[in-house]
Symmetry: C2
Protein backbone atom coordinates (compact mmCIF):
# COMPACT_ATOMS: atom_id res chain seq x y z
CA UNK A 1 0.00 0.00 0.00
CA UNK A 2 0.93 3.63 -0.45
CA UNK A 3 0.80 6.22 2.31
CA UNK A 4 0.37 9.72 0.95
CA UNK A 5 1.73 11.79 3.80
CA UNK A 6 3.62 14.82 4.98
CA UNK A 7 6.38 13.83 7.38
CA UNK A 8 5.90 17.09 9.31
CA UNK A 9 2.35 16.05 10.16
CA UNK A 10 1.72 14.06 13.32
CA UNK A 11 -1.47 12.74 11.76
CA UNK A 12 0.59 11.21 8.94
CA UNK A 13 3.29 9.91 11.25
CA UNK A 14 0.71 7.94 13.26
CA UNK A 15 0.11 5.78 10.19
CA UNK A 16 3.83 5.30 9.54
CA UNK A 17 4.48 4.31 13.17
CA UNK A 18 1.68 1.73 13.21
CA UNK A 19 2.95 0.23 9.95
CA UNK A 20 6.50 0.13 11.26
CA UNK A 21 5.44 -1.42 14.59
CA UNK A 22 3.31 -4.08 12.90
CA UNK A 23 5.85 -4.58 10.07
CA UNK A 24 3.30 -3.78 7.39
CA UNK A 25 5.03 -2.97 4.10
CA UNK A 26 4.27 0.41 2.52
CA UNK A 27 5.56 3.03 0.16
CA UNK A 28 5.64 6.56 1.54
CA UNK A 29 4.57 9.12 -1.04
CA UNK A 30 5.61 12.59 0.17
CA UNK A 31 2.93 15.27 -0.07
CA UNK A 32 3.75 18.84 0.94
CA UNK A 33 0.69 20.45 2.50
CA UNK A 34 2.28 23.90 2.53
CA UNK A 35 2.74 23.76 -1.25
CA UNK A 36 -0.93 22.97 -1.85
CA UNK A 37 -0.21 19.42 -2.95
CA UNK A 38 -3.36 18.12 -1.20
CA UNK A 39 -5.49 20.39 -3.39
CA UNK A 40 -4.46 19.25 -6.85
CA UNK A 41 -7.10 17.53 -9.03
CA UNK A 42 -5.03 14.32 -8.95
CA UNK A 43 -4.93 14.28 -5.17
CA UNK A 44 -8.60 15.21 -4.78
CA UNK A 45 -9.43 12.08 -6.79
CA UNK A 46 -7.79 10.03 -4.04
CA UNK A 47 -9.44 11.97 -1.22
CA UNK A 48 -12.14 14.52 -1.96
CA UNK A 49 -11.52 16.02 1.48
CA UNK A 50 -8.04 17.10 0.31
CA UNK A 51 -6.30 15.86 3.44
CA UNK A 52 -3.35 13.68 4.32
CA UNK A 53 -2.77 10.99 5.38
CA UNK A 54 -4.54 9.11 2.61
CA UNK A 55 -3.86 5.43 1.98
CA UNK A 56 -4.11 3.75 -1.40
CA UNK A 57 -4.21 -0.03 -1.23
CA UNK A 58 -2.84 -2.20 -3.98
CA UNK A 59 -6.34 -2.82 -5.36
CA UNK A 60 -6.88 0.94 -5.69
CA UNK A 61 -9.20 1.39 -2.73
CA UNK A 62 -8.51 4.47 -0.63
CA UNK A 63 -8.89 5.34 3.03
CA UNK A 64 -8.44 8.65 4.83
CA UNK A 65 -8.55 10.14 8.35
CA UNK A 66 -5.54 9.14 10.41
CA UNK A 67 -7.48 7.49 13.22
CA UNK A 68 -9.73 5.53 10.84
CA UNK A 69 -6.63 4.34 8.97
CA UNK A 70 -4.75 3.14 12.04
CA UNK A 71 -7.90 1.48 13.36
CA UNK A 72 -8.18 -0.45 10.09
CA UNK A 73 -4.57 -1.43 9.54
CA UNK A 74 -4.11 -2.45 13.19
CA UNK A 75 -7.26 -4.61 13.33
CA UNK A 76 -6.58 -7.91 15.05
CA UNK A 77 -3.32 -6.64 16.57
CA UNK A 78 -2.67 -5.97 20.24
CA UNK A 79 -2.78 -2.23 19.55
CA UNK A 80 -6.57 -2.58 19.83
CA UNK A 81 -7.95 -3.94 23.12
CA UNK A 82 -9.80 -7.27 22.88
CA UNK A 83 -12.42 -6.18 25.38
CA UNK A 84 -15.28 -4.32 23.65
CA UNK A 85 -15.62 -1.69 26.35
CA UNK A 86 -11.87 -0.99 26.44
CA UNK A 87 -12.02 -0.66 22.65
CA UNK A 88 -14.85 1.86 23.07
CA UNK A 89 -12.76 3.85 25.56
CA UNK A 90 -9.94 3.83 22.99
CA UNK A 91 -12.40 5.22 20.45
CA UNK A 92 -13.54 7.86 22.94
CA UNK A 93 -9.95 9.11 23.18
CA UNK A 94 -9.40 8.89 19.40
CA UNK A 95 -12.41 11.11 18.76
CA UNK A 96 -11.45 13.43 21.60
CA UNK A 97 -7.94 13.74 20.16
CA UNK A 98 -9.27 15.00 16.85
CA UNK A 99 -11.85 17.32 18.38
CA UNK A 100 -10.30 18.69 21.58
CA UNK A 101 -6.53 18.20 21.28
CA UNK A 102 -5.28 18.36 17.68
CA UNK A 103 -7.12 21.60 16.74
CA UNK A 104 -5.28 23.44 19.52
CA UNK A 105 -1.94 21.77 20.11
CA UNK A 106 -1.15 20.83 16.51
CA UNK A 107 -2.42 24.15 15.21
CA UNK A 108 -0.32 26.23 17.66
CA UNK A 109 2.71 24.17 16.71
CA UNK A 110 1.99 24.59 12.99
CA UNK A 111 1.73 28.34 13.38
CA UNK A 112 5.02 28.57 15.27
CA UNK A 113 7.07 26.03 13.32
CA UNK A 114 5.77 26.58 9.78
CA UNK A 115 4.33 30.10 9.83
CA UNK A 116 7.01 31.58 12.08
CA UNK A 117 4.68 33.01 14.71
CA UNK A 118 5.93 33.67 18.22
CA UNK A 119 4.13 32.48 21.37
CA UNK A 120 2.67 35.93 21.92
CA UNK A 121 1.09 35.87 18.45
CA UNK A 122 -0.89 32.68 19.12
CA UNK A 123 -4.64 32.84 19.66
CA UNK A 124 -4.98 32.83 23.49
CA UNK A 125 -8.18 30.78 23.23
CA UNK A 126 -6.31 28.03 21.34
CA UNK A 127 -3.50 28.08 23.92
CA UNK A 128 -6.03 27.85 26.75
CA UNK A 129 -7.82 24.91 25.15
CA UNK A 130 -4.51 23.20 24.43
CA UNK A 131 -3.60 23.41 28.10
CA UNK A 132 -7.07 22.10 29.03
CA UNK A 133 -6.41 19.08 26.80
CA UNK A 134 -3.00 18.51 28.40
CA UNK A 135 -4.49 18.85 31.88
CA UNK A 136 -7.07 16.20 31.07
CA UNK A 137 -4.37 13.84 29.78
CA UNK A 138 -2.26 14.46 32.88
CA UNK A 139 -5.22 13.50 35.07
CA UNK A 140 -5.64 10.26 33.12
CA UNK A 141 -1.94 9.42 33.09
CA UNK A 142 -1.67 9.86 36.83
CA UNK A 143 -4.43 7.27 37.15
CA UNK A 144 -3.20 4.73 34.59
CA UNK A 145 0.04 3.85 32.86
CA UNK A 146 -1.37 4.36 29.38
CA UNK A 147 -4.42 6.24 28.12
CA UNK A 148 -6.70 3.21 28.34
CA UNK A 149 -5.75 1.18 31.39
CA UNK A 150 -2.26 -0.30 31.55
CA UNK A 151 -1.74 -1.48 27.98
CA UNK A 152 -0.60 0.67 25.09
CA UNK A 153 -3.27 1.11 22.39
CA UNK A 154 -3.94 3.25 19.35
CA UNK A 155 -5.14 5.96 21.74
CA UNK A 156 -1.53 6.37 22.89
CA UNK A 157 -0.19 6.37 19.34
CA UNK A 158 -2.71 8.99 18.25
CA UNK A 159 -2.23 11.23 21.27
CA UNK A 160 1.54 11.05 21.39
CA UNK A 161 1.86 12.32 17.82
CA UNK A 162 1.30 15.96 18.70
CA UNK A 163 1.80 15.79 22.46
CA UNK A 164 5.49 14.88 22.06
CA UNK A 165 6.04 18.04 20.00
CA UNK A 166 3.68 20.28 21.99
CA UNK A 167 6.68 22.27 23.26
CA UNK A 168 7.28 23.35 19.64
CA UNK A 169 3.86 25.03 19.87
CA UNK A 170 4.85 26.98 22.94
CA UNK A 171 3.38 24.60 25.53
CA UNK A 172 5.54 24.42 28.63
CA UNK A 173 5.45 20.74 29.56
CA UNK A 174 7.10 21.11 32.96
CA UNK A 175 3.69 21.08 34.65
CA UNK A 176 2.81 17.69 33.18
CA UNK A 177 5.12 15.07 34.70
CA UNK A 178 2.82 12.11 34.05
CA UNK A 179 2.55 13.09 30.39
CA UNK A 180 6.34 13.33 30.13
CA UNK A 181 6.72 9.87 31.69
CA UNK A 182 4.13 8.49 29.22
CA UNK A 183 5.73 10.19 26.19
CA UNK A 184 8.99 8.43 27.00
CA UNK A 185 7.32 5.05 27.39
CA UNK A 186 5.28 5.43 24.22
CA UNK A 187 8.25 6.67 22.16
CA UNK A 188 10.26 3.74 23.43
CA UNK A 189 7.49 1.28 22.49
CA UNK A 190 7.31 2.77 18.99
CA UNK A 191 11.10 2.86 18.63
CA UNK A 192 11.16 6.65 18.24
CA UNK A 193 13.98 8.95 19.36
CA UNK A 194 13.00 11.44 22.04
CA UNK A 195 11.38 14.46 20.38
CA UNK A 196 13.51 16.89 22.37
Amino acid sequence: MKIYGDSNSGNCLKVKWVCDKLRLPYTWVPVDITKGETRTPAFLKLNSAGQVPTIVFDDGRTLAQSNAIIRYIARGSDLIPCDAFAEAKMDEWLFWEQYSHEPYIAVCRFQMVYLGKSVSELDPEKVKRGHAALARMELQLVASRFIVDDALSLADVALVAYTRVAHEGGFDMRGYPAIRRWIGETESFLGLPAAR
Copy 2:
Protein backbone atom coordinates in the same frame (compact mmCIF):
# COMPACT_ATOMS: atom_id res chain seq x y z
CA MET B 1 -28.13 3.13 31.07
CA LYS B 2 -28.34 6.88 31.44
CA ILE B 3 -27.71 9.33 28.62
CA TYR B 4 -26.58 12.71 29.90
CA GLY B 5 -27.51 14.93 27.01
CA ASP B 6 -28.79 18.26 25.75
CA SER B 7 -31.68 17.78 23.38
CA ASN B 8 -30.58 20.84 21.39
CA SER B 9 -27.29 19.11 20.56
CA GLY B 10 -27.09 16.96 17.45
CA ASN B 11 -24.21 15.07 19.04
CA CYS B 12 -26.52 14.04 21.88
CA LEU B 13 -29.44 13.25 19.60
CA LYS B 14 -27.29 10.77 17.63
CA VAL B 15 -27.13 8.60 20.76
CA LYS B 16 -30.88 8.87 21.40
CA TRP B 17 -31.70 7.96 17.80
CA VAL B 18 -29.48 4.88 17.82
CA CYS B 19 -31.00 3.72 21.11
CA ASP B 20 -34.51 4.29 19.79
CA LYS B 21 -33.78 2.50 16.50
CA LEU B 22 -32.22 -0.49 18.25
CA ARG B 23 -34.81 -0.42 21.07
CA LEU B 24 -32.15 -0.07 23.76
CA PRO B 25 -33.68 1.12 27.03
CA TYR B 26 -32.26 4.32 28.54
CA THR B 27 -33.00 7.19 30.84
CA TRP B 28 -32.39 10.65 29.37
CA VAL B 29 -30.82 13.01 31.90
CA PRO B 30 -31.15 16.57 30.61
CA VAL B 31 -28.00 18.69 30.80
CA ASP B 32 -28.12 22.32 29.70
CA ILE B 33 -24.79 23.27 28.11
CA THR B 34 -25.67 26.95 28.00
CA LYS B 35 -26.17 26.99 31.79
CA GLY B 36 -22.71 25.50 32.42
CA GLU B 37 -24.11 22.18 33.59
CA THR B 38 -21.28 20.24 31.88
CA ARG B 39 -18.74 22.12 34.03
CA THR B 40 -19.97 21.26 37.51
CA PRO B 41 -17.72 19.11 39.74
CA ALA B 42 -20.37 16.36 39.72
CA PHE B 43 -20.49 16.27 35.93
CA LEU B 44 -16.71 16.44 35.54
CA LYS B 45 -16.49 13.27 37.63
CA LEU B 46 -18.51 11.51 34.92
CA ASN B 47 -16.53 13.03 32.06
CA SER B 48 -13.38 15.02 32.75
CA ALA B 49 -13.70 16.53 29.26
CA GLY B 50 -16.89 18.29 30.40
CA GLN B 51 -18.84 17.36 27.30
CA VAL B 52 -22.17 15.78 26.47
CA PRO B 53 -23.27 13.23 25.46
CA THR B 54 -21.91 11.10 28.26
CA ILE B 55 -23.29 7.66 28.98
CA VAL B 56 -23.36 6.03 32.40
CA PHE B 57 -24.00 2.31 32.30
CA ASP B 58 -25.80 0.48 35.11
CA ASP B 59 -22.47 -0.75 36.51
CA GLY B 60 -21.18 2.82 36.76
CA ARG B 61 -18.83 2.76 33.80
CA THR B 62 -18.91 5.85 31.63
CA LEU B 63 -18.37 6.55 27.95
CA ALA B 64 -18.17 9.84 26.08
CA GLN B 65 -17.76 11.20 22.52
CA SER B 66 -20.93 10.78 20.47
CA ASN B 67 -19.36 8.71 17.71
CA ALA B 68 -17.53 6.40 20.14
CA ILE B 69 -20.80 5.89 22.01
CA ILE B 70 -22.89 5.02 18.97
CA ARG B 71 -20.12 2.74 17.70
CA TYR B 72 -20.23 0.86 21.01
CA ILE B 73 -23.96 0.63 21.57
CA ALA B 74 -24.61 -0.37 17.94
CA ARG B 75 -21.95 -3.11 17.86
CA GLY B 76 -23.27 -6.24 16.20
CA SER B 77 -26.22 -4.40 14.64
CA ASP B 78 -26.75 -3.68 10.96
CA LEU B 79 -25.89 -0.02 11.57
CA ILE B 80 -22.24 -1.11 11.31
CA PRO B 81 -21.16 -2.79 8.05
CA CYS B 82 -20.02 -6.42 8.38
CA ASP B 83 -17.22 -5.91 5.85
CA ALA B 84 -14.06 -4.62 7.55
CA PHE B 85 -13.22 -2.16 4.79
CA ALA B 86 -16.76 -0.74 4.68
CA GLU B 87 -16.54 -0.37 8.47
CA ALA B 88 -13.26 1.53 7.99
CA LYS B 89 -14.92 3.85 5.47
CA MET B 90 -17.68 4.44 8.02
CA ASP B 91 -15.00 5.36 10.54
CA GLU B 92 -13.38 7.69 8.00
CA TRP B 93 -16.64 9.62 7.73
CA LEU B 94 -17.22 9.57 11.51
CA PHE B 95 -13.82 11.18 12.11
CA TRP B 96 -14.32 13.58 9.21
CA GLU B 97 -17.69 14.60 10.64
CA GLN B 98 -16.14 15.66 13.93
CA TYR B 99 -13.16 17.40 12.34
CA SER B 100 -14.41 18.96 9.12
CA HIS B 101 -18.21 19.24 9.42
CA GLU B 102 -19.39 19.72 13.02
CA PRO B 103 -16.94 22.56 13.90
CA TYR B 104 -18.39 24.66 11.07
CA ILE B 105 -22.00 23.66 10.51
CA ALA B 106 -22.94 22.97 14.14
CA VAL B 107 -21.05 26.02 15.37
CA CYS B 108 -22.70 28.41 12.87
CA ARG B 109 -26.08 27.01 13.86
CA PHE B 110 -25.27 27.35 17.57
CA GLN B 111 -24.29 30.97 17.09
CA MET B 112 -27.47 31.81 15.19
CA VAL B 113 -29.98 29.77 17.19
CA TYR B 114 -28.59 30.13 20.72
CA LEU B 115 -26.48 33.29 20.60
CA GLY B 116 -28.83 35.22 18.32
CA LYS B 117 -26.26 36.10 15.65
CA SER B 118 -27.38 36.93 12.13
CA VAL B 119 -25.86 35.34 9.01
CA SER B 120 -23.76 38.42 8.39
CA GLU B 121 -22.21 38.14 11.86
CA LEU B 122 -20.91 34.59 11.27
CA ASP B 123 -17.19 34.01 10.72
CA PRO B 124 -16.87 33.85 6.90
CA GLU B 125 -14.14 31.21 7.21
CA LYS B 126 -16.49 28.92 9.14
CA VAL B 127 -19.24 29.46 6.57
CA LYS B 128 -16.81 28.67 3.74
CA ARG B 129 -15.63 25.48 5.41
CA GLY B 130 -19.21 24.47 6.17
CA HIS B 131 -20.06 24.78 2.49
CA ALA B 132 -16.93 22.80 1.60
CA ALA B 133 -18.17 20.01 3.87
CA LEU B 134 -21.62 20.08 2.29
CA ALA B 135 -20.10 20.06 -1.20
CA ARG B 136 -18.10 16.95 -0.34
CA MET B 137 -21.20 15.21 1.02
CA GLU B 138 -23.16 16.17 -2.10
CA LEU B 139 -20.45 14.59 -4.26
CA GLN B 140 -20.68 11.37 -2.26
CA LEU B 141 -24.46 11.29 -2.21
CA VAL B 142 -24.66 11.69 -5.96
CA ALA B 143 -22.44 8.60 -6.23
CA SER B 144 -24.15 6.41 -3.61
CA ARG B 145 -27.52 6.21 -1.87
CA PHE B 146 -26.01 6.51 1.60
CA ILE B 147 -22.65 7.78 2.83
CA VAL B 148 -20.99 4.36 2.67
CA ASP B 149 -22.35 2.49 -0.32
CA ASP B 150 -26.04 1.72 -0.47
CA ALA B 151 -26.78 0.74 3.12
CA LEU B 152 -27.47 3.13 5.96
CA SER B 153 -24.76 3.10 8.66
CA LEU B 154 -23.69 5.13 11.66
CA ALA B 155 -21.98 7.50 9.22
CA ASP B 156 -25.43 8.60 8.05
CA VAL B 157 -26.74 8.92 11.61
CA ALA B 158 -23.75 11.03 12.63
CA LEU B 159 -23.79 13.26 9.58
CA VAL B 160 -27.53 13.81 9.44
CA ALA B 161 -27.56 15.19 12.99
CA TYR B 162 -26.32 18.64 12.04
CA THR B 163 -26.86 18.49 8.27
CA ARG B 164 -30.65 18.33 8.69
CA VAL B 165 -30.55 21.58 10.68
CA ALA B 166 -27.80 23.27 8.64
CA HIS B 167 -30.36 25.78 7.33
CA GLU B 168 -30.73 27.04 10.92
CA GLY B 169 -27.04 28.01 10.67
CA GLY B 170 -27.64 30.05 7.55
CA PHE B 171 -26.67 27.37 5.03
CA ASP B 172 -28.83 27.56 1.92
CA MET B 173 -29.47 23.91 1.07
CA ARG B 174 -31.01 24.52 -2.35
CA GLY B 175 -27.69 23.80 -4.02
CA TYR B 176 -27.48 20.32 -2.48
CA PRO B 177 -30.28 18.19 -3.95
CA ALA B 178 -28.59 14.85 -3.23
CA ILE B 179 -28.12 15.82 0.41
CA ARG B 180 -31.79 16.81 0.66
CA ARG B 181 -32.85 13.46 -0.82
CA TRP B 182 -30.59 11.66 1.66
CA ILE B 183 -31.81 13.69 4.66
CA GLY B 184 -35.37 12.59 3.87
CA GLU B 185 -34.38 8.94 3.57
CA THR B 186 -32.30 8.99 6.73
CA GLU B 187 -34.97 10.82 8.76
CA SER B 188 -37.52 8.32 7.55
CA PHE B 189 -35.29 5.38 8.54
CA LEU B 190 -34.82 6.89 12.01
CA GLY B 191 -38.50 7.73 12.36
CA LEU B 192 -37.84 11.46 12.67
CA PRO B 193 -40.14 14.23 11.49
CA ALA B 194 -38.70 16.43 8.75
CA ALA B 195 -36.50 19.11 10.36
CA ARG B 196 -38.11 21.89 8.32
